[in-house]
């Protein structure tokens, strides 16, 4: 009796023409370590900017405890996502797209207003910022789109279709109104188009069109958004009004000096001079408490994170993985640039959180989710050499 040898290889899935084994050894250690360090740094900053309750009453540790809870949820999400084959995400991309637009519509419909913006939805006592989630989901959707059309990535049709895909999400976020996050969407689009190999002239043309339509955009902006832009150009034209945040942020950053005033020793944010010190202007508080040194350490961690993300993308086994990795890196870079740039008056004021450092569960969990996807990509890459 002949015995047929059992085919012990894993069968191909509908997603792959070849099996994509998970290799735990291929977890990107640098990415993992820097993620943990940044989460820790974020918790320290939460403590530093909220612990000294000079103006608020209540448990001084409440923000730290809540932050730690969110960090745990984020780490769990990261692990869970890493276990799954990211290719499934590609398979469900159309569904994810519909889900994203649904989330953003829900925010518009029932979101609670904070500082004049409909940004968060309260569920079971926790407030969720769906646009943070939407950001990560749109990365997957756009990555899938460009990966599937990689052969025609240089065609203007691809570019226009990609924009068409993006537009509803941007509009929904903008209606919240959240100018900052809608800009992040656009930046992500440019980043991915660039890295996917779109023609440079097409990207330049898009920027040119955007610049040409600036008067139209200006007329569409809300009054406070215009005021913020004017204040960015000259904060002292309205030091008590639109310029206040910028001036106070510069004072906070500058007064930190080389090594800062020390943890919890900053004065600008506990005394309320620095508004939204735990999210939008968290970097100003960091620079005040920990100084130039603390900021440079943060920058170093970010650079390691970004390089690691890019490396994962470069090593990915398929275009979908490459584009997801690249897009996550783009998103992080853009958010860091805009948030820090705002704090030091290199950018206009927009409400974009600083990855890991800004207090806020939705942002942290979304980023952890994205980094989980990166680890998933890393684990499923082709092993290097023999």
């Amino acid at each position: 009796m002949s015995v047929r040898a059992m085919n012990l290889a894993r069968p191909a899935t509908p997603l792959h023409d070849r099996p994509a084994p998970r290799r735990w050894t291929q977890i990107d250690p640098m990415l993992l370590i820097v993620t943990v360090l940044l989460i820790g740094y974020g918790l320290v900053m939460t403590y530093s900017t909220t612990a000294e309750t000079r103006t608020f009453t209540g448990d001084p540790m409440q923000f730290v405890i809540r932050g730690a809870l969110w960090a745990a949820i984020g780490m769990a999400a990261m692990a869970a996502v890493a276990v799954f084959d990211y290719a499934w995400l590609g398979a469900f991309a159309p569904l994810l797209y519909v889900f994203t637009l649904g989330l953003l519509s829900v925010v518009l419909a029932i979101g609670t207003s904070s500082l004049g913006a409909q940004r968060s939805v309260n569920i079971a006592g926790l407030s969720f910022q769906f646009s943070e989630v939407a950001k990560v989901l749109m990365i997957i959707v756009l990555a899938k789109f460009f990966a599937d059309r990689r052969a025609a990535v240089g065609s203007p049709v691809t570019m226009l279709l990609g924009l068409a895909l993006l537009a509803p999400a941007v509009l929904l976020v903008y209606r919240q109104p959240d100018l900052g996050t809608s800009l992040v969407f656009i930046a992500i689009f440019f980043g991915i188009a660039f890295l996917a190999g779109a023609r440079i002239w097409q990207l330049v043309a898009l920027v040119a069109i955007a610049a040409a339509s600036f008067p139209v955009v200006w007329s569409l902006l809300k009054d406070y958004q215009r005021a913020r832009l004017s204040a960015f150009l000259d904060p002292y034209s309205d030091p008590q009004g639109a310029g206040w945040n910028i001036i106070q942020s510069l004072i906070a950053v500058g007064s930190g000096g080389a090594t800062g005033k020390g943890l919890t020793a900053g004065t600008q944010s506990p005394l309320g001079y620095l508004p939204i010190a735990e999210s939008d202007f968290v970097f100003s508080g960091l620079a005040e408490d920990l100084g130039f040194a603390g900021a440079v350490i943060l920058f170093a961690l970010y650079m390691v994170l970004l390089i690691a993300a890019l490396r994962v993308a470069l090593r990915a086994k398929d275009p979908f993985g490459i584009l997801i990795g690249a897009r996550i890196a783009t998103m992080l870079l853009f958010q860091i640039m805009v948030n820090v740039g705002m704090a030091i008056s290199l950018m206009p004021v927009t409400g974009i959180p600083l990855p890991f450092i800004s207090h806020g569960g939705s942002s942290l969990v979304s980023i952890c989710f994205a980094l989980g996807v990166l680890q998933s990509i890393s684990m499923r890459r082709e092993p290097e050499g023999p």
Binding site: R54, T55, R150, G191, F194, L195, A196, G197, Q248, L250, I251, A252, V253, G254, S255, G256, G257, A258, T267, Q268, L271, G272, Y273, A287, E288, G291, F292, A295, V296, F299, Y302, M303, L306, I307, L310, A313, L314, K317, D318, P319, I322, A326, A329, T330, L333, I336, M337, V340, G341, I344, L346, E382
Partner: protein, 625 residues
């Protein structure tokens, strides 16, 4: 990895992306370096200015005491009521404005306006509602029913309190809120917008001593300007205590006599001033009617102020220095000293007053009686008008006596301090009028007549003096020829009880008059009391002096208190030598002036000032001995 997938990876774009990361972080780092390292100190200062503010801590004002330490002005606790708009719900604003307004006796509109203005300015900061210090009962009413007064805050503050308000108001004056213009000038000296300062009297003149040194408090504040904690404190230093030359006992004796005279309708207004002729220290100064300066210290109301201004006896004026009156016969001292010093008369110059009047160019000039033959001492003692007409301008009754003339009289009168402020340390001093022919020509464009000379000789006509000027001139005679600078400041003591060095003002001048002539005047003044015009029964003190009666102003109609206007004023200027001799040793000189003496009194032709002087000085000096 399949070939088509690999080729998909645009490696150069990834490198470009890596470069972008590097460039972005380099830019951010460079900017941070500029902000934190290069300009770190500047921003650190800004952050400190943000959170730290130095608030002044007012110092308590120094007290005012008499020469024995009796307290005349001090501070008592009061309360300030303010509203913190952020703690006052808008829906209750109207209700609170009405309740607080009626409690503090201000209109509810002004409460609402203050709160609304502050809501716009800084709703976290209290805005003061009570314009004047609030007494304890009202403060308690607010704090005990806090639920009725949302957002209302009560803070302690001090009220200036004057123990014998009306008695000392002409001297001490009062404090009041600083004006915008004053603040503009004084803010560099640390004055604050809601400060009080001395508005008149001693409170005004010695503001520099009385106002303490303000301290400060460095507080940390949040962006809403709420105070978080005190970082540093410099305690204020209480103002210095100003000691006056006033003797409260004499002040009260003087006041009691003068007040009694007003109450008994003997006269409508009265002034009494006493000083030490040897050094110019003012021992007492009373001006009736006065006003209660506590009204000003706690914030005078418009009806109260209107009432004071409507009183035509001018209670707000310190009449010892602030208004001028004809000197009457007291001025004969000047006429006499002028003639003696110029040598046109001496103690044996005799005028035989053989009639009650004489005529010059058809105009009659009267005396009050037919005196007969008078030498200088008797002429002065009996206050003969014709005797002094003669010394001033000559007369048919003594053809051999040459008149000294109006210019000489004016010269010696000015030497004795008339026609110019004495320089006492009080505001609003009147200089009086000391006329001479040139003055009349300049003022009225009319030549001087012999009639003017005669009128001037007996203190009528154009001559106008303040009671203090008259007193000071007599004091110079009493002390042997030194015209002192009258003053009220005796001592200044700092918060620790240490004396602050002050120098008494130097005398105005030495009189260019001979000691013998001054002695003759003292002798004549003593004779006024012993056998002349101002006879004092059972006299216990060797009082010397000179009476005066002057007609002035209206002698018809009624004043605002409903009394008949008579236009007769009485003077008695006196001094008390140490023994019954003519040495220049008097330790006290006093002037009493009664305004508008009553009809019945004048019919008896008694000078009320004489009796009062005797009673006051005997009580004061008798008890001293």
């Amino acid at each position: 990895m399949r070939q088509d997938d690999r080729s998909f990876v645009p490696v150069r774009r990834f490198i470009a992306f890596g470069v972008a990361i590097f460039v972005i972080f380099s830019t951010l780092t460079a900017r941070l370096y500029d902000l934190e390292i290069v300009r770190g100190d500047y921003y650190h200062q800004l952050s400190e200015q943000n959170r730290i503010v130095r608030l002044p801590v007012p110092a308590e004002r120094g007290g005012i005491v008499d020469r024995t330490g009796y307290v005349l002005a001090r501070n008592i606790p009061g309360f300030a009521v303010s509203v913190i708009p952020v703690d006052l719900p808008r829906v209750r604003e109207q209700e609170l404005a009405q309740r607080l307004g009626s409690l503090l006796d201000i209109s509810s509109e002004s409460v609402s306006n203050a709160v609304q203005a502050q809501r716009i300015r800084n709703p976290y900061e209290p805005v003061r509602i009570s314009k004047t210090p609030v007494p304890r009962e009202i403060a308690l009413a607010v704090t005990e029913r806090a639920e009725l007064f949302p957002g209302v805050r009560v803070d302690p503050e001090s009220i200036r309190f004057y123990a014998d308000g009306t008695l000392y108001a002409p001297i001490i004056g009062y404090t009041g809120p600083i004006t915008e213009q004053e603040l503009a000038m004084l803010s560099a000296n640390g004055y604050l917008a809601d400060d009080d300062l001395g508005r008149t009297g001693i409170e005004n003149v010695y503001e520099q001593y009385l106002r303490g040194t303000y301290g400060w408090r460095e507080i940390e504040r949040d962006a809403a300007q709420r105070e978080i904690k005190t970082l540093a404190l410099q305690r204020p230093t209480v103002g210095n205590t100003v000691g006056l030359t006033i003797d409260d006992r004499l002040q009260k004796l003087l006041d009691a006599e003068l007040r009694k005279g007003v109450d008994e309708d003997k006269f409508t207004q009265a002034v009494g001033v006493a000083m030490n002729p040897q050094n110019g220290e003012i021992l007492a100064m009373v001006s009736i009617p006065g006003y209660d300066n506590n009204m000003f210290a706690r914030g005078i109301t418009q009806p109260e102020l209107d009432a004071l201004n409507a009183d035509d006896r001018h209670p707000l004026v310190n009449k010892a220095i602030g208004d001028r009156y004809p000197a009457g016969s007291t001025f004969k001292m000047v006429t006499g000293l002028s003639a003696l010093t110029e040598g046109t008369a001496n103690r044996s110059t005799v005028v035989n007053v053989t009639a009650r009047s004489f005529s010059v160019s058809g105009t009659p000039f009267f005396d009050w009686t037919v005196h007969g033959s008078l030498d200088f001492v008797n002429g002065f003692a009996h206050s003969s008008d014709i005797y002094f007409y003669t010394l001033a301008g000559g007369s048919p009754m003594a053809p051999n006596v040459r008149g000294v003339g109006p210019d000489a009289i004016a010269k010696y009168a000015r030497m004795l301090g008339f026609g110019a402020p004495t320089g006492i340390d009080l505001p609003n001093e009147n200089g009086g009028i000391m006329p001479d022919p040139a003055w009349k020509l300049a003022t009225f464009d009319e030549p001087w007549t012999i009639g003017n000379t005669y009128q001037e000789a007996i203190g009528q006509g154009f001559v106008a003096v303040t009671p203090l000027q008259l007193l000071n001139a007599y004091a110079a005679v009493a002390n042997g020829g030194t015209l002192q600078t009258p003053h009220l400041l005796k001592s200044v003591t700092d918060a620790s009880g240490k004396a602050v060095l002050i120098t008494p003002p130097p005398p105005i001048r030495k009189l260019d008059m001979s000691a013998d002539n001054l002695r003759l005047l003292r002798e004549a003044a003593r004779k006024v009391v012993t056998s002349g015009h101002a006879y004092m029964p059972n006299a216990k003190l060797p009082i010397a002096g000179k009476t005066g009666t002057a007609e002035f102003g209206d002698s018809a109609g009624k004043d605002s208190a409903g009394r008949n206007k008579l236009g007769f004023h009485n003077w008695f200027v006196s001094f008390v030598p140490q023994a019954d001799n003519t040495d220049p040793t008097a330790q006290i000189a006093m002037v009493i002036f009664t305004y508008d003496s009553s009809k019945s009194l004048c019919e008896l032709c008694l000078n009320p000032a004489v009796g009062m002087t005797q009673r006051i000085l005997e009580q004061y000096l008798g008890a001293n001995k």
